[in-house]
């Protein structure tokens, strides 16, 4: 391959290294494995580079190779069936899909202006990573493919070798679990204290009337 192509490839890999490593880290949940995955992806990408017709698509193309490499190995190595998640865990008490927004929008919290904005603004990267990393593999991978990498449902289905409906249902369940985890974390981090303070102030205001 000529020097210009090699230079282009090296520059693109350098530019995309943080994105590739971050995505690999979300998939593997382990820094050493993530490094190995990125290195393997780059090697595969170099070998397949003549197949890439539009160099403008390099970013999406190499992200797809990364996902494909991980999913192939994950499916191959998955010796034992994944721990089944009890159906309904991702639902709330009424059997509706768990929604962090709805939890934050309970009437007693609406006294506090826009609680959901406050929580979303205070969400830390670590909170998101913890919630994401805590998902069962099949759910986490669906979220990474669609939300992190931006694949469409059909693309994710093709990468995973499952029907589009399976991707849709895994995403729905993953989002329920993810939001439940964030809700629990928000409460552990003191969301309730704020609410209690708000209640005290409301009680005081009522007494003053």
């Amino acid at each position: 391959m000529d020097a210009g192509i090699r230079q282009f490839f090296a520059a693109e890999v350098e530019r995309l290294a943080d994105r590739l490593f971050g995505t690999a880290l979300r998939l593997t949940r382990n820094r050493d494995d993530a490094e190995d995955l990125v290195a393997e992806t780059v090697a595969k990408a170099w070998a397949k580079l003549p197949e890439l017709r539009d160099l403008q698509c390099f970013d999406a193309w190499i992200q797809r190779i990364l996902a494909n490499t991980f999913v192939s190995e994950w499916r191959h190595r998955r010796a034992s069936p994944e721990i089944a998640i009890e159906p309904g865990v991702e639902h709330d008490e009424e059997g509706e899909p768990f929604s962090l927004f709805e939890k934050l929008h309970q009437p007693f919290l609406l006294w506090w202006a826009s609680p959901e904005e406050s929580v979303i603004a205070k969400l830390l990267r670590e909170d998101i990573e913890r919630a994401l990393d805590g998902l069962p593999d099949a759910f986490r991978i669906a979220v990474v493919l669609v939300d992190v990498q931006g694949h469409s449902y059909p693309e994710a289905a093709e990468l995973l070798g499952v029907p589009v409906g399976t991707v849709r249902s895994r995403l729905a369940r993953a989002r329920g679990l993810l939001q439940r985890s964030l809700w629990q974390h928000a409460r552990d981090a003191g969301f309730h204290d704020n609410h209690d303070h708000g209640k005290e102030a409301r009680d005081q205001a009522a007494d003053d009337v």
């Binding site: 927004f101 998101i128 469409s152």
Partner: protein
């Protein structure tokens, strides 16, 4: 479109999985319904947080490994 219908399709809308007409109907609803708009914005921001989680500083060891790899190709 009712609020229930919008919420039913909200994630598919945010994931850009809907046809143009359904997307337009949802957008029209969001322009006039504050509750659904707030919910949509909340989910959109959460989705953006998830996308951001896919970027993490590549360690120097990895950058050096990739450089070495490309030189060897």
């Amino acid at each position: 479109m009712t609020c229930e219908e919008v919420l039913e399709h909200l994630f598919a809308y945010l994931d850009r999985e809907l046809d143009d007409q359904t997307s337009a109907e949802i957008e029209h609803h969001l322009e006039s319904c504050r509750g659904c708009f707030s919910r949509a914005e909340f989910e959109r921001k959460l989705k953006a947080h998830l996308r951001d989680a896919g970027e993490s500083a590549a360690p120097e060891s990895l950058r050096a490994r990739l450089k070495y790899l490309i030189e060897k190709f």
